[in-house]
């Protein structure tokens, strides 16, 4: 039994080991590709979000929104977000066409003046709704958006994880790099993400909690927990009522729908 195990360990070392034939860069991108591949096929999804913002003193404020996503494999996903609270921004909605390369296309609907505005998506490092999430943290994950470098295999909360450094391709990103903790035993879902600012200093840590599996393979965290180490502020994102294959089609992601759902 013992020899059998060590043979397996030896095989694993040869097949998956970073030193064997594959550079850390190659292994990094391979893991990222596997993660994207593992989540393919959800077609469309809808989820309610509750965002809790907490300042250094522990004061909280909440936001509610609904997110609809249409999966595309040839290009980035399309999404619609409607804000339900705070009340003064209720009905404000965004339509985003993410792209694997280059800037995303984004429109904003302002319900009080019934105006649809195309907005610049180049400002991806800015905070989303006053939270510790930047716009780029919430954009769809595409392999092409980063270059990769495998760091090491590790243990995180009892789970086997693969640590991969991710360097943003876009010079407008707010990060020098991120370190992603992939869980190879759970369809390459993220367990943790560390963000480093442009100077290379530790900026934020995001941990993923309360995972559930949908349609037999899609791993979705029920809670994102983001801590900003430089400001002491925190943001939690709760995902409730996931629905997949909602019947939404690509054509439904247009400006008419944006106005209708925003009101």
């Amino acid at each position: 039994m013992k020899t059998k195990l060590s043979i397996i360990a030896l095989i694993v070392l040869f097949v998956a080991g970073p030193s064997y034939g594959q550079s850390p860069e190659e292994k990094g991108i391979e893991i990222a590709q596997k993660a994207i591949k593992a989540d393919e096929g959800f077609e469309s999804s809808e989820v309610d979000l509750r965002m809790v913002l907490r300042n250094r003193q522990g004061q909280e404020s909440e936001r509610f929104m609904t997110n609809m996503t249409y999966e595309l494999t040839t290009d980035g996903d399309k999404s619609l977000i409607v804000f339900n609270s705070p009340r003064d921004v209720q009905g404000t909605a965004t339509l985003t066409f993410t792209h694997k390369e280059g800037s995303d296309d984004q429109w904003l609907y302002l319900p009080s003046i019934k105006r649809v505005k195309r907005i610049s998506s180049s400002n991806k490092s800015g905070p989303f709704m006053g939270s510790e999430f930047a716009y780029e943290d919430l954009s769809s994950d595409e392999v092409e958006k980063y270059t990769y470098k495998f760091l090491k295999e590790d243990n995180f909360n009892g789970e086997n994880v693969l640590l991969v450094e991710q360097f943003p391709v876009d010079p407008k990103s707010g990060y020098q790099k991120r370190i992603a903790y992939y869980n190879p035993d759970k369809n390459y879902r993220f367990e943790k993400m560390e963000f480093f600012d442009r100077k290379g200093a530790m900026l934020k840590t995001l941990t993923y909690h309360d995972y559930e599996t949908y349609l037999d393979k899609h791993q979705r965290a029920g809670r994102f927990y983001m801590v900003n180490h430089q400001t002491g502020k925190e943001t939690e994102l709760f995902f409730e009522g996931y629905k997949f294959k909602t019947g939404l089609e690509e054509d439904d992601f247009n400006q008419t729908t944006l106005q209708r759902i925003g009101r």
Binding site: E62, D88, S103, R118, I119, G126, M129, K172
Partner: protein
Amino acid sequence: MGWIVLGLFPLMLKAQEDKETYQEFSLEVEGSNRYFFKDAMYPGQEQNYLSFRVQPEYLLEWADGVHSLKFVGFARLDQHDSRRTHLDIRELYWQTYNDDLDFSIGFKKVFWGKTESAHLVDIINQTDAVESFDGEAKLGEFMAHLSILNNLGTVELFVMPYFRKRVFPGRKGRLRPGDASDIVIDSRDFDFESDAGRWRPSFAARLSNYIGPLDFGLSYFNGTGREPIITDFTTFTSIYGVIHQFGLDMQLTTGPLLLKLESIYRANPFQDVFALVGGFEYTFGNVGGSGLDIGVLGEFLYDDRDELSLNGLQSDVFAGVRLGFNDVQDTQFLMGAIYDVNRTTELYFVEFSRRVGSNWKAVLESRFFQNVDPLEFTYFIRDDNFLQASVTRYF
């Protein structure tokens, strides 16, 4: 129009029985105070105006949201100005949709356009000139509105059976034209060019789409023009003319730089108008990692009307700065200036807004007029510099 509503009603009820319904009621209440720095120019005017706004909203959805009914009521109570005290149905419409069509009928608000300092192309709704000075507030317009998605883009068709006159501030209100002999501009006295009067229907169509970084809209309007044509400036005698208006609006979005253009050609037996506004908006995002966005705006406005018009923008330059703090309270700051290229007139404005808690919002707004040329419409309100503070509570 009535028979369409009646004809659809059984259909609506039937759908309602089939699926679950969703409804939502909400209310906005605003208290505001407007203080004018200078003494009144015309008899009856005051220096300080308190006012209140109540805006109830109701939404009903049924058949999984395929059908919906929306209502937005509006009431403004002004301490002194009896014309600014007004009621309106901002929205009251039924809407339905399928894959490629959206159809609605009732009172609605529709916005067209791209630029910030002037909204030339935007013509569907009458301006609520007593509610806000800058023309951003609109009256609800009764319409049948069909929106078709096809390979050209979004094609929209509008039929508006009824015309609503623009309401101007009353005798005791400020920001109104007048003279020493106590004359007041009053829309009720204006004539219509069409014999059908306010029942002359209006028709409009718009095609909008985007190609890569370019968003564009092409529009056509035929009906009674929303802007009255002033035929005599000594008595403010005006007429609502039947117009044809062609509009073009465009925006090019290239990274942090937005380039915007709007242009109209308006044809009428009394007055032809060509007008254009174009400019840019450049945003420095997340400055120094602080979350602060600084937007710089510049626009040029041209209007070929030499004679006085309600639109005081003949050949002007707009410059503005927008600050978005992207904080928890959504603090925003906007300041701008409009300079007349050929004359001396200068307009300045500042707007500051911030959410307080989760259900309150505070807004400060100020406007200043300087060196106003006597040949501009703004000359009538040259002493109406004001500071307004308002607080809104959302229920």
